[in-house]
Amino acid sequence: MGSNQADAGYLAAQAQVRTIPVGLTARKIRERLIEFAMFLCALSSVAITVGIVWVLLFESWQFFSHVSIINFLTDTEWTVLFENPRYGILPLVTGTVVTSTVALLVALPLGTVIAIYLSEYAANPVKEILKPILELLSAVPTVVFGYFALLFVTPALQSLLPELPGFNMLSAGIVIGIMIIPYVSSLSEDAMKAVPVTIREGSYAMGATRFQTAVRVLIPSAFSGIASAYVLGFSRAVGETMVVAIAAGQQPHLTLNPMEGAATITAYIVQVSMGDLPHGSIAYQSIFAAGLTLMCMTLLFNIGGYLLRKKFREIY
C-alpha cells in the first residue's frame, strides 16, 4: 500500500542519513588539516617579521647603549665611518625619502596610465605581448640598473642640467621608478581585468568613452588591487639597494634637493656589511640601527595606507 511504501522509503532514507555523518567527519578532518596547513603558511609571515625584528633589535641594542636615541634622531650628520663619528640618522633618512619620492613620481603615474592603456585600449594579442615585455623590466638585475643610471641616465641628464653632479639622487630615483613600473602596471591591470564584465559593459552601454570607463568605473572598483600595487611599488622603491649604492653616491648628505648626491639607508647597510670593517664594531652595529629606522618608517606608511584603503574600498 501507499503508506507502507512511504514508510519503507522513509526508513531507508533514515538508514542512509545515519551513515552520512561518518563520511562527513572524515571530510571535516581533511578540511581542518588543510586549513591548518594554510594557517601555518600565513603565520610564517609573522615568524619572518619576528626574526627580522629580533636581528635588528639585538644588534641595535648594543648600538644604542653607546649612542643616545635623541642624538641618533636629531643630529644632522652621519659620519660613522670617519674619525670623529657622528650618529645622526637624518641624512640617510632624507636620502631614502628623496629617492623614493622621485621613483614614485615616475612609477605611479606612468604605471597607472599604462595599466589603463593595457586594460581598455590595447587589443588582446597586443596586450598579451606587451605585458610580459614590461615585466621583463623587473627581471633586469638591479646591478645593471645601477650602472645604467650612472653611465647613461646621469650623462643624459647632465646635458639638460649642466650643474648636475656625477652622483645624484635624480638619476637613481628615475631609474628605480622605471624599474618598478611593472609592479604598478601589471598588478593594476590584473585588478582592472578582474572587474566583472557586466560592470564594464554597463558603463560602455551608457555611452562612456574608454577613458571615462577606466577612470570612473574600473579604477574605483579595482581600488583595492590598485592600492596594493602602489604599496608594493612603494615598498620596493624604499628597499632598493644596489641602484642607489651605485648611482646616488655613498656620502651621507642632508638635503632635500634631488640634484645632489646622498646615501640612502639601504646603500649604507650594503656598503658597511660588505666592506672591510670588523664585524661587532659600533660602526657595524649602526647598520642595524639604520635598518630598524627604515622598518619603522615603512610601518608608519603602511599603517596609513591600510587605513586609507579601508575607508575607500568599494564592494560590488
Binding site: 670617519f82 656620502q251 660588505m274 664585524h279
Partner: protein
C-alpha cells in the same frame, strides 16, 4: 605518452651533470681587493691538482672574512688590512690561531686628469692639506693648496669610508686612520672613480694600482714625494720600497688548525711559491723575494700571531715588520 617523454627528457638532462667525486675542500673568504690574487692562485692550484682538491673563494669583505675565520668556518681569510684588536679578541676567544702572511703590495696611486699640467709631484703635506677633516668646505680650489696652482675647483674622488684603502690612505697622509674630509665623491667601485677623474680636468683621486695600470690612457699618475724625492708608482719602486708612504701590504691569514690538513698546507706553500708571478699577472706588486721566504718559514714553524699589533702600520719596510715578534 607526453608524461613519459617529459620524464625521460628530464632524466637525460639531469644526467648531464658531471659526477662529483669526494674531493677535499679549501674555503677562503674576505677582501675583494685580495680576491683577484687568491682567484689566480686557486685556479692554478686546482689545475695542478687535477680537481682532486676544490677551492672556493668569497668576497664578504675583510671584516666579514675575519668574522667567518674566527668562527672556524673558513680555512683562509683574505685581508686588505692587518687583523684588528677586536678581531684578535674574537679569534682568541674561539681558540682560532692564525699565521699572518703578507702576499703582495697594493700601491695606492694618486691620479689626476691627463689634461692636468700643473701637478708635477705631490708631497705628503700637499695631500694632507687637501684631505684632512678641516679642509671640508674650506679647501675648494687648487691654488689654496699651493699658490702656484690655478684657481680652479678641486674635485676629489676616493673609495668609500668602509674600505681598507680609505683607512690606509688617511693613516698615511693625515696621520690618523679614518680622519678625512667628508665632501668628496666616494664610490665602492673604483671603475666609477676612474670615470669621474677621466671626465674632469680638475679632478684628483686615489685608489689601487691595478686600476691605474689598466686605464693609463685615461689617467695620469702623480709622483709622490714621501720626503726623499718624487717617486712614480711602479712595480719596481714599490718592491724596493722607494714609493712611500702609499705602499700597503695585503695579506692572507691561515688558520693553524687548517694547516694540519695536508691539502691546505700544500695550497699555502703553492701560494707563497707562485705569488711573485701570479701577483704580477693581476696587476698587483710582488713583495721582495725575502718576504715570501720568511713567510714560508713561518708556515713551517707554525709562527702564529700578528706583527701589526692590531692596527695598521704605515711606511715600514715589509722585511722589518716580518722580523718583529708576533703578538697573539
Amino acid at each position: 605518452m607526453k608524461n613519459v617523454v617529459f620524464s625521460v627528457a628530464l632524466v637525460a638532462l639531469l644526467g648531464l651533470f658531471p659526477k662529483a667525486s669526494k674531493a677535499q675542500l679549501i674555503q677562503i673568504d674576505g677582501s675583494s681587493t685580495v680576491f683577484p690574487i687568491t682567484e689566480a692562485v686557486s685556479e692554478e692550484f686546482q689545475k695542478a691538482k687535477k680537481g682532486v682538491v676544490k677551492v672556493t673563494v668569497g668576497i664578504a669583505g675583510t671584516g666579514g672574512g675575519f668574522k667567518k675565520f674566527c668562527r672556524g668556518e673558513i680555512d683562509i681569510s683574505d685581508a686588505s688590512r692587518p687583523i684588528l684588536k677586536q678581531e684578535m679578541e674574537t679569534c682568541k676567544q674561539s681558540g682560532v690561531q692564525y699565521i699572518e702572511l703578507p702576499i703582495a703590495y697594493d700601491a695606492l696611486t694618486v691620479m689626476v686628469n691627463p689634461k692636468n699640467d700643473w701637478v708635477k709631484a705631490l708631497t705628503v703635506p700637499d695631500l694632507k692639506k687637501m684631505w684632512e677633516p678641516t679642509a671640508q668646505g674650506k679647501i675648494t680650489t687648487w691654488n689654496q693648496v699651493r699658490s702656484e696652482w690655478p684657481n680652479s675647483p678641486l674635485k676629489l674622488f676616493g673609495p668609500g669610508a668602509d674600505s681598507g684603502t680609505f683607512d690606509y690612505f688617511t693613516e698615511a697622509i693625515v696621520g690618523k686612520a679614518k680622519s678625512s674630509r667628508g665632501d668628496f665623491t666616494a664610490s665602492e667601485d673604483d671603475n666609477v672613480l676612474v670615470q669621474g677623474i677621466a671626465n674632469d680636468r680638475n679632478a684628483l683621486g686615489y685608489f689601487g694600482f691595478a686600476y691605474y695600470i689598466e686605464n693609463q690612457k685615461k689617467l695620469k699618475a702623480a709622483p709622490i714625494d714621501g720626503g726623499k724625492g718624487a717617486v712614480m708608482p711602479s712595480a719596481k719602486t714599490v718592491e724596493d720600497g722607494t714609493y712611500q708612504p702609499l705602499s700597503r701590504p695585503i695579506f692572507i691569514y691561515v688558520s693553524k688548525k687548517s694547516l694540519d690538513k695536508p691539502e691546505v698546507r700544500e695550497y699555502v706553500e703553492f701560494y707563497l711559491k707562485n705569488a711573485p708571478a701570479l701577483v704580477k699577472q693581476v696587476k698587483y706588486v710582488a713583495l721582495p723575494p725575502s718576504a715570501y721566504t720568511i713567510g714560508m718559514e713561518h708556515v713551517k714553524k707554525g709562527k702564529v700571531g700578528t706583527v701589526f699589533g692590531g692596527e695598521s702600520q704605515v711606511g715600514i719596510k715589509i722585511e722589518e715588520l716580518l722580523k718583529r715578534e708576533a703578538q697573539n
